[in-house]
């Protein structure tokens, strides 16, 4: 059940330049999963629309969610100043999320090997996915791409997955992007899940070839619940809602099988 609720900030810290780690106690946590997102509202009545932010984590007791986001404008700048005890207005839980059961069974008989690729601010949702897949007995390989050695969340990936790094400037791990690191380390996999900038997702779609690839898309959104048709992506088949090859990223996604969308 979706709802707009008031959550209570448990903690917030800056974990890399411009990247913040915010934990909010909210009833929405009980239904939150990897790949889903919430809309966070500002207190500024001139900036009205909810800011879509992916779920980076759900606490073990299912009472709080963790959002790791980049300050990109006046809304996220306001969020970065939230402190313990502050209230935060949130709409959620939004989007379809990753199908853990499907990913766990993707190799047929053996345990599945799932490759997770995250680029920049596409990294946070991959962490919750790594944890959920790991808990489901899936062999997880994470390859995370950063601009330079000022990484974030990396140590948390290592506890639930075989982890590799790519940096644009070569200061850590493979010099280049996440696919360069996959090739350099000759990583084999049954399925790939990815979140990051569009050029990266396009390259991954091509790279995956016949193997199942699930990508998490973003787009400018308004309602977040599938009513306004603001955030659409072209689909190969006729979409079930509007019957015009335009699926709604906020509700039909944000996770799509790469072969189903034209990006």
């Amino acid at each position: 059940m979706k709802a707009k609720v008031t959550g209570k900030v448990i903690s917030q810290s800056c974990i890399a330049p411009g990247i913040y780690d915010l934990r909010i106690e909210t009833a929405l946590a009980s239904e939150a999963h990897a790949g889903q997102f919430v809309g966070v509202f500002t207190k500024d009545s001139s900036a009205l629309l909810p800011r879509p932010i992916s779920i980076c984590g759900v606490s073990d007791d299912k009472r709080s969610i963790r959002l790791v986001y980049r300050v990109a404008g006046k809304g996220t700048d306001e969020f970065s100043r939230l402190e313990e005890g502050d209230e935060a207005s949130i709409l959620g839980v939004l989007g379809n999320g990753y199908d853990i059961e499907k990913l766990a069974g993707i190799s047929g008989s053996d345990s599945s090997k799932v490759l997770l690729l995250g680029g920049g601010i596409g990294i946070p949702p991959m962490l919750e996915l790594a944890k959920e897949l790991h808990a489901a007995g899936v062999k997880v390989i994470s390859v995370m791409g950063y601009r330079d050695d000022r990484t974030f969340l990396l140590d948390e990936f290592t506890s639930v997955s075989e982890t590799y790094v790519a940096t644009e400037d070569g200061s850590l791990g493979t010099k280049g992007n996440v696919l360069d690191a996959v090739r350099e380390n000759r990583i084999e996999f049954d399925a790939v899940c990815a979140c990051g900038p569009l050029p990266m997702l396009r390259a991954i779609k091509e790279f995956a070839g016949e193997k199942p690839a699930f990508i998490s898309l973003e787009e400018r959104m308004a309602c977040g619940v599938g009513a306004c048709l603001g955030c659409v992506v072209k689909t190969k088949e006729v979409d079930h809602h509007s019957h015009v090859n335009n699926a709604r990223i906020c509700t039909d996604g944000p996770v799509f099988e790469a072969s189903e969308v034209e990006i």
């Binding site: 009545s45 019957h243 509700t251």
Partner: protein
């Protein structure tokens, strides 16, 4: 006993609160948040004779106190609408107003005729005011003669009461209201969005793929109140007012300006409970001011 019922073209609404076409789908998405039975009516997203794909993305962006949209009337077409959305709406005790869009007079007429025999449809709202499609829509709503003629054509092909939805992108709203009335419209609704533009100065690009978009939200409310006032004083047919309505107080303001009913639009995105809170806000206002019948305040200023 407090009376919140209002009547438009012989159709009685349990209260004057509806939502703005395009902000609420066919009610399905927001039925997770609000009890549709509590609304005066559900006004559907614009529906055409065939599916429309809409515009390229980005289709929406935020602006100070509101937003711009250039969705381009993406819709599944009348057949899917009748098979899927009307049965859904049949489960609720609320009025159903179907918003109709088209590229030509024939397109509008085809949809209007198709809906004539659908019992679940209480009224049609004709979108002659969308600023985001190249053909049809706003072209009909910005020319006095075109507006009068298309109203006449649609009226000649449907038994359902017809609301003409007007655009604010004209020099004289009273004249357009009169054109709709003389064409035989049973009611008018206004305002649709105001054409706007936003430029992303960091990327040196338009914020919307369509370059221009329709502005909505609280920032446009004073313009909408003024236009509802001017239009309602120019015609005898009822007016449905909209433009930035967020609360019961906003609804009361539009009704005092001359609106018989009101629609909550963009503010559904900000507060998914806005419609029902609006109903409650109107009732609270009536209690506070000892008003027995909401009709007393219509056009009272």
């Amino acid at each position: 006993m407090m009376k919140t019922e209002v009547t438009i073209a012989g159709v009685t609404f349990k209260n004057p609160v509806m939502e703005g076409s395009g902000t609420f789908g066919s009610g399905m998405e927001y039925s997770e948040f609000v009890d549709l039975n509590k609304l005066g009516a559900v006004v559907t997203k614009g529906v055409a004779n065939v599916p429309w794909p809409g515009n390229p993305t980005p289709r929406v962006c935020e602006v100070y106190g509101g937003m711009l949209n250039a969705i381009g009337l993406q819709n599944p077409g009348i057949e899917v609408f009748c098979e899927r959305d009307l049965p859904f709406l049949s489960k609720y005790d609320t009025r159903v107003i179907v918003n109709v869009c088209g590229r030509s007079v024939e397109d509008y007429v085809e949809v209007a005729e198709r809906l004539s025999d659908e019992d679940r449809v209480d009224m049609l709202e004709i979108n002659v005011s969308c600023p985001n499609v190249k053909e049809g829509a706003i072209a009909f709503g910005t020319d006095r003669n075109c507006l009068e003629n298309i109203t006449k054509e649609i009226k000649a092909h449907t038994k359902k009461p017809v609301i003409m939805k007007l655009t604010p992108n004209v020099t004289n709203i009273a004249e357009m209201a009169m054109a709709a009335e003389s064409g035989g419209a049973d009611a008018i609704s206004l305002i649709n969005t105001i054409t706007g533009m936003k430029i992303d100065i960091e990327r040196r690009r338009f914020a919307l793929a369509n370059k221009t978009g329709g502005m909505s939200g609280p920032a446009i409310k004073p313009i909408a109140v003024r236009m509802v006032y001017q239009a309602s004083h120019a015609v005898k047919i009822p007016v449905i007012g909209m433009g930035g309505i967020a609360t019961g107080e906003d609804a009361i303001e539009f009704m005092m300006a001359g609106a018989t009913a009101v629609s909550v639009g963009m503010m559904n995105f900000v507060n998914p409970y806005a419609t029902v809170e609006c109903v409650k806000g109107i009732e609270d206002y009536m209690t506070r001011h000892g008003i027995e019948d909401i009709n007393e305040i219509i056009g009272c200023v």
